[in-house]
């Protein structure tokens, strides 16, 4: 594996970095969608995240990275029936779902080798199994083939992958943070898939020259000596990793006072977003942000910061009105939180 560009060496794109950190703190937020023009460092930033994630406990040799601490029904069938579970530390998986992937690799399928040699009907877990408890990254998510999207939608909503094919009947946990990136000019995203993302961002290249020069200088230094460059940023990476790790520990206990809850509800009501998902994501994101900042309670400031990312893709969609979605959210934020 080649060395990836360090997350903390990415110049600008603070919103994108923060959104990804929030998703890393609380996976139940539902992932991040990054849309933007070409050459903004979308994939660089997302790939950089992988090196930053803290380690987690997982059942040894479990292909689904089952959590030994989790209640039984959240485990795969093998871990459920096992008496004692051996634990090991793993890095939070970041699994790439490449374009052109076929269903058998995404969902998992019959293991041909075992079937031929042993006549044994064994399940070969797919990418969704590998991504359990981690991240599933789809670059050019808007170019993903429809049948793969269909398969993803169901699993992303339920957190369980059910495979009924080739005489197999398997179900295994598949809870992952969906991270997608793409260029809106190359095609739209299906609304159902859009809805699966907790946060959505629109990124642009920085337009001021000093920042752009800084980007190029760092990139140049990285290309020249990737290992050395990464070492230079090791401390910063470590600091951010610890910050995320600490936030993961405390996020559940961060208090969300009633005024924040009320304002979140007010915002959603005002924008007419469907269902409770928007509100829930809003509260969770504000809480994760507070945890990242080391606060013990979320404030209206936190809410204000995340509101745009949480709500901009949830408005009842007028497809012609791309730019004004942001404006509408901003107006609502101003009105509710001024």
């Amino acid at each position: 594996m080649t060395v990836a560009y360090p997350f903390t060496a990415i110049v600008g794109q603070d919103d994108m970095k923060l959104a990804l950190s929030i998703a890393a703190v609380d996976p139940s937020i539902g992932g991040v969608l990054v849309f933007g023009e070409r050459g903004t460092g979308k994939s660089t930033t997302i790939r950089a995240l992988a090196q930053l994630l803290p380690k987690i406990d997982a059942v040894k040799d479990c292909p689904y990275n089952c959590n030994p601490e989790a209640p039984k029904q959240g485990l795969c069938s093998r871990c459920q029936s096992a008496d004692a579970l051996k634990t090991r530390k793993i890095a939070i998986p970041v699994v790439d779902l490449p374009l052109g992937a076929t269903e058998d690799r995404v969902l998992g399928a019959l293991d041909i080798e075992k079937a031929i040699h042993n006549g044994e009907k064994a399940f070969q877990p797919g990418l969704l199994a590998a991504a359990n408890r981690g991240f599933l990254y789809i670059d050019e998510v808007n170019l993903l083939e429809d049948h793969i999207v269909d398969a993803l939608l169901d699993v992303a909503a339920s957190g369980v992958n059910v495979v009924e094919r080739e005489g197999l009947s398997v179900r295994h946990p598949a809870r992952f943070v969906l991270v997608g990136s793409g260029n809106p000019e190359e095609g739209e995203l299906r609304p159902q898939l859009l809805d699966r993302f907790g946060l959505s961002l629109d990124v642009r290249t920085p337009r001021d020259i000093p920042t752009r020069v800084e980007i190029i200088k760092l990139r140049d230094a990285f290309d020249h000596d990737p290992e050395g460059f990464s070492k230079r940023f090791a401390r910063k990476e470590g600091a951010l990793r610890r910050k995320i790790d600490a936030a993961r520990e405390v996020v559940e206990s961060v208090d969300v006072p009633s005024n924040v809850l009320e304002k979140a509800a007010e915002l959603c009501l005002q924008l007419g977003t469907d269902g409770l998902r928007g509100e829930l994501t809003l509260i969770r994101s504000a809480r994760a942000l507070a945890a990242l900042e080391g606060k013990d309670a979320a404030t209206l400031q936190h809410l204000k910061y995340v509101a745009l990312f949480v709500l901009r893709h949830r408005l009842r969609r007028d497809p012609m009105d791309e730019s004004s979605a942001d404006a509408r959210v901003e107006r609502a934020i101003e009105a509710a939180l001024a």
Partner: protein, 595 residues
């Protein structure tokens, strides 16, 4: 776009052509020095001796000949997948490398890049971005190194162009069509120059003030991608090594502008740099942070001076040549249409899994799925095999055969032909635009693709080839200028041709013509109301013969008899805009798309 034969481009005068060839030569040397660091090069040229000579030149620089890959190479071949024979032999999935991995550290000539289908573009882009191929197919997950250098052989005419995502990832661009073979002379670079530049490349750095200047220059041409800027810097280094001059020297700066920046420029640097880049107007989040904006404006003030300095470096005649070329390539860029895009992905249909099938019917067998079906029975079948000679390979029975299933989605394409002539523009342009926006919204909800044709002056132009991207449709529409005569015949002809190419791909076309019906430009471009109307009516009859459904939306202030006459000739539904409330318009259009 005039329907001229763009295959035979006028040649440049000899002196200019010699310079152009020198540029091409330099570009080849740069590709050889930088390889994947420059992504590759877009070569706009029809096949011919000049292009062949250029490719041979590049081969002599790199020493390993470029590998030709056709643009229609399918996903399974690009990425690789299961090696059937090996998998059978070993009884487990064995990987067959794909083209991209086979081309690791090589130069790939992608022929007919302008026809590269949308569904394959992502694979090329991923390999260019990461230098790796990551596959998850046919029961195999694997990552192979694939750092490739792409020569995109672009034979596009008029609005045809390779996908924008691919162009973005290629650092260099040259056009060879205007160079006569007589101007092609012997190379000024030798293999040894390339090798020596290559070896010194990693020790070369660009001073900060030059980096700033390059960033300035790119920004002044509307180039904002960090990826392109990185290419620019790397190419500047290579140029400086090849020429032996510092980066700030004109021997570096001028070729850099000609080969890297101008071909993709979105705007030309103007001495009075715009206070705000055009795209910022719709960036709402920018407004939150007022102080930041102020500093930005101040910085832009500083840039202005620098841009002027950079501009002053360019000799005037050079600027004129560049202006001409840039205009041309800008036009191409803005209509980054891809005829192959819709021609191919519909015909194949989308794969929707596998089913039990019969080999003889010409279905495509899905080998991995077939193997999976046969696999569980292998031990049993081996036991039952009573023939003397025990088979050593696999037992596959007809019932195991699985074939690929494709779904040919019956998609529909709505062609909007918009009258942007003076008469229409003055009266109802904004209403017409509003009406189209409403219709576009409706198309979106029905997943109908849209295409946009505008006509004015003496031509009709496809502004937007069939697309599902509403962002693009909306943007194109907003930028639609008005003015000039009404070339109705040309408009109908363009609609007709586009509709035909749409049905050739298996989709159902229909059209909406928005006009006041005041045809006043004949097919040959002469301004005459009588001839214009006559030509329009005959073109309308031709279109009516195709039985393609259409609606004519009359945009005249009062319903005009001429528009009604035209709609009769077209056999199209007639809708005068004054009555065409958004709702009734939508209902009428919907009857079209349902049919």
């Amino acid at each position: 776009m005039p329907a001229s034969n763009a295959l035979s481009k006028p040649l440049l005068p000899e002196a200019e052509a010699a310079n152009a060839w020198h540029d091409a030569e330099l570009a080849a040397a740069l590709v050889a020095v930088l390889r994947h660091k420059a992504g590759g090069i877009r070569v706009c040229a029809q096949p011919g001796p000049v292009r062949d000579y250029w490719l041979a030149l590049l081969d002599s620089f790199t020493e390993t000949p470029a590998r030709r890959v056709p643009s229609n190479t399918p996903t399974e071949r690009l990425l690789g997948g299961m090696d059937i024979t090996e998998s059978m032999r070993h009884g487990k999935p064995v990987l067959a490398q794909g083209v991209l991995a086979e081309c690791h550290q090589r130069v790939v000539a992608l022929s007919m890049a302008e026809r590269l289908p949308k569904e394959f573009t992502g694979h090329w882009c991923a390999a260019l971005d990461t230098g790796e191929v990551h596959i998850a197919r046919d029961g195999i997950s694997h990552t192979s190194p694939a750092s490739i250098t792409v020569i995109a052989l672009d034979e596009g005419i008029d609005e045809e162009s390779p996908p924008a995502g691919l162009i973005e990832r290629l650092g260099l661009s040259i056009a060879l069509d205007e160079i006569s073979i007589r101007c092609v002379d012997d190379s000024r670079y030798a293999r040894s120059d390339i090798v020596s530049a290559q070896s010194r490349l990693s020790h070369t750095s660009v001073p900060d003030e030059d980096l700033t200047r390059l960033a300035e220059l790119a920004a002044s041409m509307g180039i904002h991608s960090s990826r392109t800027l990185k290419f620019t810097v790397d190419i500047a280094k290579a140029l400086s090594l090849l020429s032996g001059k510092p980066v700030s020297d004109e021997a570096v700066m001028h070729p850099l502008i000609r080969l890297v920046l101008l071909p993709i420029a979105q705007q030309l640097p103007t001495p009075q740099a715009e206070p705000q880049p055009p795209e910022q107007s719709d960036d709402n989040r920018e407004d939150i942070d007022v102080p930041e904006q102020q500093t930005q404006q101040k910085e832009e003030q500083d840039h202005e001076d620098l841009v002027q300095a950079a501009m002053a470096e360019l000799p005037e005649d050079l600027l004129a040549i560049l202006l001409k070329r840039a205009e041309k390539s800008r036009q191409r860029q803005s209509k980054s249409g891809n005829a192959g895009e819709f021609a191919q992905d519909k015909q194949r249909g989308r794969p929707v899994g596998v089913r039990r099938g019969d080999v003889k019917r010409g279905h495509r067998i899905d080998i991995p799925a077939t193997l999976r079906c046969a696999a569980p029975f292998q031990t049993a079948r081996a036991m039952w095999d009573t023939s003397d000679k025990k088979k050593t390979s696999l037992y596959i029975e007809p019932s195991d055969i699985r074939v690929k299933r494709f779904e040919q989605r019956k998609s529909s394409v709505m062609i909007f032909a918009v009258d942007a002539s003076g008469s229409s523009a003055h009266q109802r342009m904004s209403e017409a635009k509003g009406a189209i926006e409403l219709l576009l919204a409706d198309c979106y909800s029905h997943r109908t693709e849209v295409a946009l044709i505008a006509f004015k002056g003496d031509t009709a132009e496809i502004l937007l080839p069939p697309t599902r991207s509403l962002v693009r449709a909306k943007r194109t529409l907003a930028q639609l200028p008005g003015g000039g005569g009404t070339p109705m015949a040309a408009a109908l002809q363009a609609t007709h041709e586009l509709a035909r190419s749409v049905s050739a791909t298996g989709a159902t076309p229909s059209y909406v013509l928005l006009t006041d019906g005041a045809a006043n430009v004949a097919r040959d471009g002469t301004k005459s109301r009588a001839a214009g109307t006559e030509d329009a009516l005959s073109a309308a009859k031709l279109l009516a013969n195709t039985k393609i459904k259409g609606v004519l939306v009359d945009t005249a202030v009062r319903p005009s008899p001429r528009a009604r006459e035209l709609s009769t000739a077209l056999d199209a539904t007639y809708l005068p805009l004054p009555n065409a409330s958004a709702h009734s318009l939508n209902t009428s259009i919907r009857t079209l798309s349902v049919g």
